[in-house]
């Protein structure tokens, strides 16, 4: 549960998270957008299927792995949102077929 408290400068972009179109500040990372938009979890683990949210937000923990534009295992905290970006919650192990 997070909220945007201070306005940030600059433009906005529209991204799709799961199947929802969302307009967010262009300066946000995917992880920040997921948290601010109230997604209760951002991936499930490959081992037990447990729910996870980003933990460190500085690229260390890899708990924020999501699928971005069809590519799995992307660090949401290290990736900036882009117009038209399609973000999916990663369920279990990444899919190696493509």
């Amino acid at each position: 549960m997070f909220k945007r408290r201070y306005d940030v400068k600059g433009p906005t972009v529209t991204v799709t998270i799961e199947d929802k179109e969302i307009t967010v500040p262009a300066s946000e990372t995917v992880a920040a957008a997921l948290l601010a938009e109230g997604f209760a979890y951002t991936r499930t683990t490959p081992v037990s299927g447990a729910l996870r949210t980003p933990y460190c937000l500085m690229g260390t923990c890899f708990d924020c792995l999501v699928e971005i534009d069809g590519i799995p295992n992307q660090q949401a905290c290290q990736t900036r949102v882009r117009d038209g970006m399609r973000i999916k919650i990663q369920k279990g192990a990444r899919d190696i077929e493509s």
Binding site: K3, R5, V8, L35, Y55, T60, F62, D63, I71, R80
Partner: protein, 462 residues
């Protein structure tokens, strides 16, 4: 961007920016690789673009980063933002990814200024959604103006715990309590180091000011907290802890954990630089001299990556490492290096004078470093528990690398960044030996994920 540089600096925080400035002044060709979109590091994150309201909230300690970033922007160095380093070779080749583009560059010297990471705090329930690192909340606030929306509790120990608590309170977040796990015995142990710390009394004054903000807000502060647990089935629902002999449970939406910061030394471990165990703060640091030279030729380290000393000291150590690089590349003479470095050396000793005191006051609670509850997850990636690790030890496993192949602890995408320290602590505790006898995980490339496609299209050094 060229393929060869006199100096490649990894990290665009205070150490990396300062080093770039001095190296460019000396006439070196410099490439700076930074993971974020803007220079500043975690401490001055996004300071260039922060709104006045946010700058006011974060205070002068944050705002003064603007000067440093401004000077860095004024240099002629090549700067690659959003550049993720995934390999560094002993021949001073660096492989990195920037916006999906993989390439190699080579330096005549490399300076690692990768800063610090938060020390992981493996308590029961710390993998539940809603439990997060304290610095993660600080990053959300600095970079995005985002704060926790529900009942928030901060738990742990260290200056950043107090700083983030006071910042969140000032921003209007609903901070219900601060659970301070600093053991009472630390106060006595740190006392002999207080006089020296008075040389940098501004650090102590700031700490007291943060405590005043927390107290005035009516936020409860519990001291000497033990047996910290995050409870909930799918999401964190409450935090349970023991303070002064009483066990309490509080409802939370967000639980923020902190136990100090430790050097981000994945690259120096990858390069197999010599490391030493700093027992007071219980972390590994590369063995360096005052110039940041490691045991590997051409490889230097500046800032917190060489041992935690804070942003000001990091900046100064960056200048010193750059002068050393210029001297080693015969661009300046030894006399010139000594002359230019004298004021920096003086400032470094002043900035570091508070550390022996802080390091002992905020020495992590041994009960937090070795999870006593067998169900506590140690390796978040592969979901390996403390019990599974101890079971493997009962079967005769002795070292971290053997344990990794047996249990998968440290084998996930974070490559031990979140469990490596805890793993060595658990082994040392079980075998009743000191941590240096146990050692650390062997770190191998790629240290950040890279796809086969990116690897195959990588622009190599000719």
């Amino acid at each position: 961007m060229k393929t060869r540089y006199d100096l490649i600096i990894i990290g665009a925080g205070p150490a990396g920016m300062a080093a770039a400035e001095t190296a460019a002044d000396c006439g070196l060709s410099v490439l700076v690789l930074g993971e974020d979109r803007l220079p500043g590091g975690q401490v001055y994150r996004d300071v260039e673009q922060a709104e006045p309201g946010l700058i006011k909230l974060l205070g002068p300690d944050y705002e003064e980063g603007k000067t440093l970033v401004g000077r860095f922007r004024g240099t002629s160095v090549d700067y690659a933002p959003e550049a993720v380093v995934w390999e560094v070779e002993p021949d001073l080749t660096v492989g990195f990814l920037a916006q999906g583009d993989a390439r190699q560059v080579r330096g005549r010297r490399i300076l690692i200024a990768s800063g610090a990471r938060e020390r992981p705090v493996p308590i029961p329930g710390w993998t539940l959604p809603g439990v997060m690192a304290v610095t993660a909340a600080d990053i959300l606030l600095k970079s995005h103006g985002i704060i926790p929306a529900g009942d928030t509790v901060l738990a742990g120990s260290g200056p950043l715990l107090l700083q983030t608590a006071s910042r969140l309170i000032d921003s209007g977040a609903s901070v219900r309590a601060v659970l301070d796990t600093t053991p009472f015995s630390n106060h006595l142990a740190s006392l002999p180091y207080l006089p020296k710390a008075l040389f940098a009394a501004d650090y102590l004054r700031k700490g007291l000011a943060m405590k005043r903000v927390i107290r005035r807000s009516g936020t409860m502060i519990y001291r000497n907290v033990k047996r910290l647990e995050a409870l909930g089935s799918n999401f964190v629902e409450s935090v349970r802890f023991t303070g002064n002999g009483t066990t309490r449970e509080m409802k939370v939406n967000t639980l923020l954990l902190h136990n100090g910061v430790v050097p981000e030394n994945q690259i120096t471990f990858l390069l197999a630089c010599a490391h030493e165990w700093y027992d007071v703060q219980r972390y590994w640091r590369p063995v360096v001299d005052i110039w940041g030279n490691t045991s590997m030729p051409g490889i230097g380290v500046a800032g917190d990556a060489a041992g935690i000393s804070g942003a000001k000291a990091a900046e100064v150590s960056g200048h010193l490492a750059a002068l050393e690089a210029a001297f080693a590349l015969r661009v300046i003479s030894e006399a010139e290096k000594d002359l230019k470095s004298a004021p920096f050396k003086k400032r470094l000793s002043r900035e570091r004078s508070v550390r022996p005191f802080l390091d002992r006051l905020f020495r992590p609670d041994p009960d937090l470093l070795v999870p006593r509850d067998d169900h506590t997850v140690v390796c978040r990636c592969e979901e390996v528990t403390a019990g599974q690790i101890r079971k493997a030890l009962e079967l005769g496993t002795t070292g971290p690398n053997q344990l990794k192949s047996q249990t998968r602890c440290g084998m996930g995408p974070c490559q031990g960044r979140m469990c490596g320290l805890t793993l060595s602590e658990i082994i040392a505790d079980y075998r009743k030996v000191a941590v240096p006898e146990v050692g650390y995980l062997r770190i191998r490339p790629p240290i950040k994920p890279i796809t086969v496609e990116q690897l195959s299209t990588m622009r190599l050094i000719g």
